[in-house]
Amino acid sequence: MVNAAYSLALLPVVGFIVNIFFGSKLKLKGALFSIACIAGSFLCACLLLRHVIAGNSIEQSATWFTCGKYSFSAGLVIDQLTAIMLIVVTLVSLLVQIYSIGYLHGEKNSTRFFAFISLFTFSMLGLVLADNLILVYVFWELVGLCSYLLISYWYNKPSAALAGKKAFITNRIGDAGFFLGIATLFYYLGTANFREIAEKLHHGGFDPHIITIAGILLFCGAIGKSAQFPLHVWLPDAMEGPTPASALIHAATMVAAGVYLTVRSYSVFSAGNFSLQFVSYIGIITSLLAASIALVQNDIKKILAYSTISQLGLMMVALGVGGYTAGVFHLMTHAFFKALLFLCAGAVIHNTGVQDIRQMGGLFGKMKITASTCFIACLAIAGVPPFSGFWSKDEILLAAFNHNKVLYGLSSLVAFMTAFYMFRLYILTFTGKPRDPHLHPHESPKVMTWPLIILASLSAVSGLIGSPLTNHWFSHFIYFHPEHHIEVNYLVMYSSIAVGLLGIAMAWLFYKACPNIPKALAENYKPIYNLLLNKYYIDEIYDTVIVRPFLALTRFSFSFDSKIIDGSVNGTATVTIWISTIKAWIDKYIVDGLVNLTASMVGAIGIVLRRLQSGFIQNYILLIFTSVIIIVLLKLI
C-alpha cells in the first residue's frame, strides 16, 4: 500500500517531466500521457481509500536531514482525511485535464499547461500526504508556484502577469505567518509532526497563549492560501488564468488547502483559547464580504471567484465553531460543484468568447448539456435537497447553530446570498433570449462535456454519504472527537431549505419576472451598489495604503543607499583627498620651501652641470673614463 502512495505522488512528476522537456515535440501525446499518469494516481487513490475504509492507516517517516541534535523528517501519513483529499484532488485533476484537451484545443504549446497541472497535482498530493508541518510548508509554496505559473499562463497579457505576481506575493505574506507558526510550534513542542503535536497537546501542560498565537500564525497561511479576508484580493485576479486551471486550483483544491491545514492542525486550534474564534470570525467576515460582492459582479468568473471565497469562508466558520466534519464535508462537496461551475463557465467562455453575463443569455438552447449540468451545480451550491451542497451546508449551519446564534444567522444570510447570486448567474446566462446577436454559441465537444456530466452526478449524489439516509456515514469516517449519536435538527434543516429557496425565488423575481428591480435598486442605492461593484475598494485601499508607500519606501531606500551610505564611503574618500590637498599645500610652501631653497641652489649649479646630461651614451662613457683617469691620477699622486 505504501507503494501505491508513492506511485500516487510520483506519477504526476513523470507527467510533468515528460511534458516540460519533450512537450514541444509530443504535443497532444504529451497531454494524453499526463492524463494517463493522473489516471494512474486516481486508481492508486481509490486503492488507498479502500484500504483506509477497511480501517487501516499508513504512516511512514524517514530522516530528511539533521542539524546537530535537531532532526527533520519527511514522511507520509494516510488516514481518512488524506484518503478523501486524495480522491478529490486526483479525480478533479483528472477530469480537468481531460476537459482541457478540448478547452485548449488549438492553443500553441498547450503541453506547458499540462506540465504545470501535473506539477500542481504532485504538489497538492504531497501537501495532503505530508506528515509534518515543514513538509506541508514545502508543498504549500509549491502549489503557490503552480498557481503563479498557471495564472500567468498567457504571459503576454500584462494583466495575467500582474495577477500571477499578486497571487504569489499575497500568498507569501500569509506564508510568512505560517512559517512563524511552524517555528513557534517547533520550538515549543519540539516537533512539527502532526501526530506528535496532537499527542503532546493532548497531554496538556502547555501555555494556551503560546498555542493560541501559534494557531493564529498557522492560520495566517490558511488566510493567504484560502483567500480569506484580508488577503483574499488575489483570487478574483487569479481568474486571468485558463478556466480549467481556475477550476482545479482556484476552486476545488489549492484554495481548500487552507481549510485542509486548519483541519490537519485542528489540535493546535482547539488547544488554544482564542484561535478557533479567530478562525470563525475571519471566516464569517470573508464569507459575508465575498458573497455581497458576488451579488453585483458581471464577469462570470469573478462571480464564481467571489463565490469560492465565500464558501471557503463558510468552511472556516464551520471549523471555527467546532464543525470539524462539516468543514471537511463541505470542502469535498464544494470541490465537486465548484469545479463543475468553473468548467461550465469555461465551456461558455470557450464557445462564446465573452465573460460578461450581461452579454450572454438564452444559451440553454444552444448548450443543453452545459446548461443542465450547470443547473445541477447551482442547485447544489444553493443548498437544495438532495443535492450535495445541501447536506454539507446544513451541517455547517447546524454546527453554527449549536455554537453561536449570531454566527448561525450570518451564515444563513450567506447561504441566502449564495442562492441568489448563483441563480442570477444562471438565469442571466442560460435563460431568456440571446442579448448579443454576434454570439454563435454551440455545444462543446464530448471531451469537454463528459467531465461535466461526471462532476454533475457527483455534485448531485456525493452529499448523500453524509446525510441521514446513510446514517451520517461521513461523520463516522472523519471526526475530531468521536460522536456516537448525531441528531438531526429539523429546525435548522428546514430553515436552510427555506433560505435557499428564497434566494432562488428572489433571483427569479429580479432577473426573470421583473427585470427592472435590480436597476431601480442600483439607482436608488448607488453608493452601496458602487461599493459592492468595486469590491469595497479593498484593492484601491491596499494600493494606496500598502503598495505605493512600499514602492516609495524601496525607492527611498535606494536613494538612501546610494546617497547616504555610499555617499559616506565616497565622502571618506573625498575628505581624504581634501586632507591630502591641505597637506600638499603645507608640503609645497613650508616644508618644500626649505627644500626649494636648497633646490634652487642646486638648480643654479645644475644649469652649469646640465650640459653633462646630454643624453648621449657615448658622452657618458667618456665622462666615466675621464673620471677613472682622474681617480687614478689622484691615487698616483
Binding site: L622, I629, V632
Partner: protein, 166 residues
C-alpha cells in the same frame, strides 16, 4: 740568435700592423672598410697568440672571430645599407676630448704595465690542446655548459629580436 732576432722584430712588425689597422678600423669613414681593417688586426692578434704558444687560440681566433663574428658584422653592415653612405658624418663631436682621454688612459696603462718586466717564462712548454680539453671538461665543465646555454639563448634571442614580428 738570428732566429730570435727575426722573431722579435717580426713581433714588433705584427704589433705595428695590429695597432695601425686598429686605428684605421676606428677612424675610417666607410664602415665596411673599417670592418675589413679589423679583420687584418684580428689576424695579427692570432699571430700574437702563436708567439704566446697558444696555437689553439690562434686557430679559434681565426675561425670564430674572422670566420664567424666578422662575417656576421659585415652582413649586419650590408643589412643596414644607409649607414655606409659617405655623405654621413660617421664620428661625433667629441673626438678631441676622446683622443685626450684614451691617450691619457693609454699612457697610464703603459706606465703601469712597464713595471711587469718579466722577460723569461718559467717554462716554455707549450700548453697542449689535450690539456685544454681535459681542463675544459673536468674543472671547468660547469662554466663550459653555462657558456653553451648562453650561446643558445643568444641564438634564440637573436632570432626572436630580429624576426619580422617585433
Amino acid at each position: 740568435m738570428w732566429s730570435n732576432y727575426i722573431a722579435t722584430s717580426l713581433f714588433y712588425g705584427i704589433a705595428g700592423v695590429i695597432v695601425i689597422f686598429s686605428i684605421l678600423s676606428v677612424t675610417l669613414k666607410n664602415i665596411f672598410y673599417s670592418a675589413l681593417s679589423l679583420i687584418v688586426a684580428l689576424l695579427g692578434i692570432a699571430a700574437i697568440y702563436i708567439y704566446l704558444n697558444a696555437e689553439f687560440l690562434a686557430l679559434i681566433q681565426i675561425l670564430i672571430y674572422i670566420g664567424a663574428i666578422m662575417t656576421l658584422i659585415i652582413f649586419g653592415i650590408m643589412l643596414t645599407l644607409k649607414i655606409s653612405d659617405k655623405t654621413l658624418q660617421q664620428h661625433n663631436k667629441q673626438q678631441g676630448l676622446s683622443f685626450l682621454v684614451s691617450g691619457a688612459l693609454a699612457a697610464i696603462l703603459i706606465l703601469i704595465f712597464i713595471r711587469f718586466k718579466t722577460t723569461e717564462a718559467v717554462s716554455l712548454k707549450a700548453v697542449s690542446l689535450a690539456d685544454i680539453g681535459k681542463e675544459l671538461l673536468t674543472t671547468y665543465a660547469l662554466p663550459f655548459e653555462v657558456i653553451s646555454i648562453i650561446l643558445l639563448a643568444a641564438l634564440i634571442g637573436a632570432v626572436v629580436i630580429s624576426s619580422k614580428d617585433m
